[in-house]
């Protein structure tokens, strides 16, 4: 599934040597196979963009393996790069972006409030994992009417994603509401999303062969500033509506208010601005480079924050924060349930089981591998014999 939605692009490799970023090649590594593997970036929607950024000398990869001696090489100070926003959260500084700002311009286009958002709350690997997509007419219109403009020296449109009308509910108070909507005793404490069936059906992913792929259930997605989660339930769109002023809007996504995640402003403020724009209000472009202006913009927006009345099955259930959030999807996971062999060959599992005084592992049957091992050893001895035979043949030819 995932392989057709993504393609490999080659990105220029560099290494960080004494606080300087220096270009490297395969000859700097003992294992050239691992080196080449590191320079291949697997990407979807932004694959060509990634390639362009690499060609322009803005985006680089740092191979995982340590290079051989790089002393004496000249480079660019590492402080001129953003090594976090486009790297994996598991391995910061695995991707470097040359920039004059504390965060990459890509991150600022994805989240114009990036400079006032917690440093670890970035686009990260969603930049690569977002597949190409096609939206139905209603979602295209929603996106066109709500996309924000960003100032980074000049005016840009925010990085594309899938827009959805989102209500933010308090995860500690929403249990009954969530059960009414989903028919399951779910909790938003796990940071999952509830999505409308019609919204998700309006999104189709596109493979590099032009085929359309429906969105699986569940699917992993992320709002602004790494507010990631999976879709934990779907609901019929006509059951859940939100009334903003005198306008009744369908609800596409229900998510929690991101209270503890330090990305509340990025999610709620940007969503509010998009909704204001969608409702025909005048929304000035966001100057993503000026920290003071960003702070005052957050303050202003929160003053004028739209709330709406949530309507479920025709009944008004209470006031909620409402906005139009932007989402990125990750199709690199096979999210479907499946029967699989538990990987317990790790030494750590045995150690932990012993520490807990668990007899659990003893319950599971041992497979009899004697026959398989015997066959392997016979094969090895035949290979050894063959090797000697060929040696004799070679000697005879000399």
């Amino acid at each position: 599934m995932s392989s057709k939605l993504y393609k490999h692009v080659r990105v220029k490799p560099v290494s960080i040597n004494d606080d300087y970023v220096v270009p490297v090649s395969h000859s700097d590594y003992t294992n050239s196979q691992s080196f080449y593997q590191s320079t291949r970036v697997y990407a979807g929607l932004f694959a060509n963009f990634v390639q362009l950024l690499s060609n322009k000398g803005r985006l680089f990869v740092v191979p995982k393996e340590e290079p051989k001696d790089l002393s004496g090489r000249e480079g660019i100070p590492v402080s001129k790069f953003d090594g976090v926003s486009l790297s994996s959260i598991n391995r910061p500084y695995s991707r470097l972006f040359l920039t004059s700002y504390p965060k990459s311009e890509i991150e600022m286009l994805a989240n114009p409030f990036a400079l006032v958002t917690d440093g670890s709350r970035c686009l990260h690997t969603f930049f690569y994992q977002m597949p190409m997509f096609k939206l139905n007419k209603q979602l295209v219109e929603l996106r066109n009417r709500s996309k924000l403009e960003v100032l980074i020296h000049r005016r840009f449109v925010e990085l594309p994603g899938v827009h959805g009308i989102t209500v933010f509910v308090d995860k500690d108070k929403a249990d009954a509401l969530i059960e009414q909507i989903s028919n399951l005793p779910l909790s938003l404490k796990g940071d999952g999303f509830l999505v409308s069936r019609q919204w998700i059906d309006g999104i189709k992913f596109l493979t590099y062969y032009g085929e359309e792929v429906p969105v699986p259930d569940p699917v992993k997605m992320a709002g602004a500033a790494r507010s990631k989660g999976i879709t934990i339930a779907r609901f019929e769109q006509n059951r859940v509506l939100v009334k903003v002023n005198d306008t009744v809007l369908p609800v596409h996504v229900i998510m929690n208010t991101q209270g503890k995640r330090l990305n509340k402003a990025a999610n709620i403020v940007m969503s509010a601005l998009r909704l204001q724009k969608y409702l025909g209000m005048d929304v000035e472009p966001i100057d993503a480079t000026d920290v003071e202006k960003l702070k005052s913009r957050i303050h202003e927006t929160l003053q004028r924050m739209q709330t709406g009345v949530l309507i479920v099955d025709g009944q008004e259930v209470g006031e909620v924060f409402v906005g139009i959030n932007k989402f990125y999807f990750d199709m690199t996971h096979n999210t479907l349930p499946r029967v699989s062999r538990l990987n317990i060959d790790y030494v750590q599992v045995e150690v932990l089981a012993n520490a807990l005084d668990l007899d659990l592992l003893d319950m599971f049957p041992r497979r009899d591998r004697t026959e398989q091992l015997q066959k392997l050893f016979n094969f090895a001895s035949q290979v050894n014999y063959l090797s000697k035979l060929k040696l004799v043949e070679r000697e005879a030819r000399l």
Binding site: Q37, E179, G192, H333, N343, D362, V383
Partner: protein, 304 residues
């Protein structure tokens, strides 16, 4: 060696040793899907299935080719095992084992020896061939060590973690859970509890000890056949499972399960989810049935 060289040699082998046609087809799939620089073959599911059909790995070139009968796990493996290293999870992408690659290399080297008309090149080819056979011998030893290490077989249902309300005293599982009960490792492991007796087709002492830790009291555990276990499972009752969040970290909880048609992940009580350090941002959870409480309704979840 260029692609053209490889396919020229492969074609020669196909014609000369037609009895291994399934194997040569598999080699062709692998060669076609091998990255020319990184040297790693990446296969999709149908290609991996095709390669898995090979039952014998031959080394040709002698009057009686050397043969190794193989199982699918000796031929292909899933790339998602190294997803963390690649920083993405590549589900449904497969590759072939080092054993397959080394045998294929040996055969291609043999084809070179057979095809070259020049004596000097043939001698060079023999040198390369001997080197490949040595590498193959080392690979077989490594493979044998791996076979020896992976002797336990534990099956579970793997699905996305979904957080439930704190008052939910069951692990909610999707309908796919039912398919576990046709599988040998599950039937061999599960303990059927009927009143104050337990029945198992596996290790009696271990079964007794694990039941005790889960707070399920039985007077004795009796060893029975797998068929008997299968029959007992067809009746009514409640399944008790272990739930494992991450095999490396090894967080383990346990509890009764309920199948829910509407759910597509594994629903875990919020308090237990907290202890398991799991949330709904893409974490996987595995559920493995341990006991079946016959004609007994129970609701509980806990951690060891």
């Amino acid at each position: 060696m260029t692609y053209r060289d490889k396919f020229y040699r492969l074609n020669h082998l196909k014609n000369k040793y037609p009895q291994y046609s399934q194997y040569w087809n598999a080699c062709e799939i692998v060669l076609l899907n091998t990255d020319s620089e990184a040297g790693i073959a990446t296969l999709n599911e149908s290609q991996a299935n095709e390669v898995s059909k090979v039952s014998t790995l031959p080394i040709v070139g002698t009057q009686n080719p050397v043969e190794l009968s193989v199982t699918p796990d000796m031929l292909v493996w899933k790339l998602d095992d190294m997803g963390y290293d690649l920083e993405i999870e590549l589900e449904d992408v497969y590759s072939v084992t080092a054993l397959f690659v080394e045998v294929m290399k040996a055969n291609l080297a043999q084809a070179f020896i057979e095809l070259t008309p020049f004596d000097v090149e043939r001698k060079r080819g023999l040198e390369v061939y001997s080197k490949i056979l040595n590498e193959l011998a080392a690979t077989i030893v490594q493979f044998a060590a791996k076979v020896y290490a992976s002797e336990r077989e534990i099956l579970g249902l793997r699905a996305k973690h979904m957080t439930m309300r704190e008052d939910v005293n069951d692990i909610l599982v999707p309908p796919e859970y039912a398919s576990l009960f046709d599988k040998y490792p599950v039937l061999k492991t599960i303990v059927v509890v009927d009143g104050n007796k337990g029945f198992t087709a596996g290790n009696v002492d271990a079964a007794k000890s694990v039941l005790e830790r889960m707070g399920i009291k039985v007077d004795r555990v009796i060893k029975v056949s797998i068929d008997r276990i299968k029959k007992e499972l067809s009746g009514s009752g409640t399944f008790v499972n272990v739930i494992i969040r991450h095999p490396i970290i090894g967080y383990i909880a346990y509890g009764t399960s309920r199948i829910r048609q509407e759910i597509h992940g594994i629903g875990v009580n919020a308090k237990i989810a907290n202890l398991l350090d799991g949330d709904d941002d893409g974490d996987f959870v595995e559920v493995t049935p341990i006991a079946f409480l016959k004609d007994k309704d129970a609701h509980f979840v806990g951690v060891f």
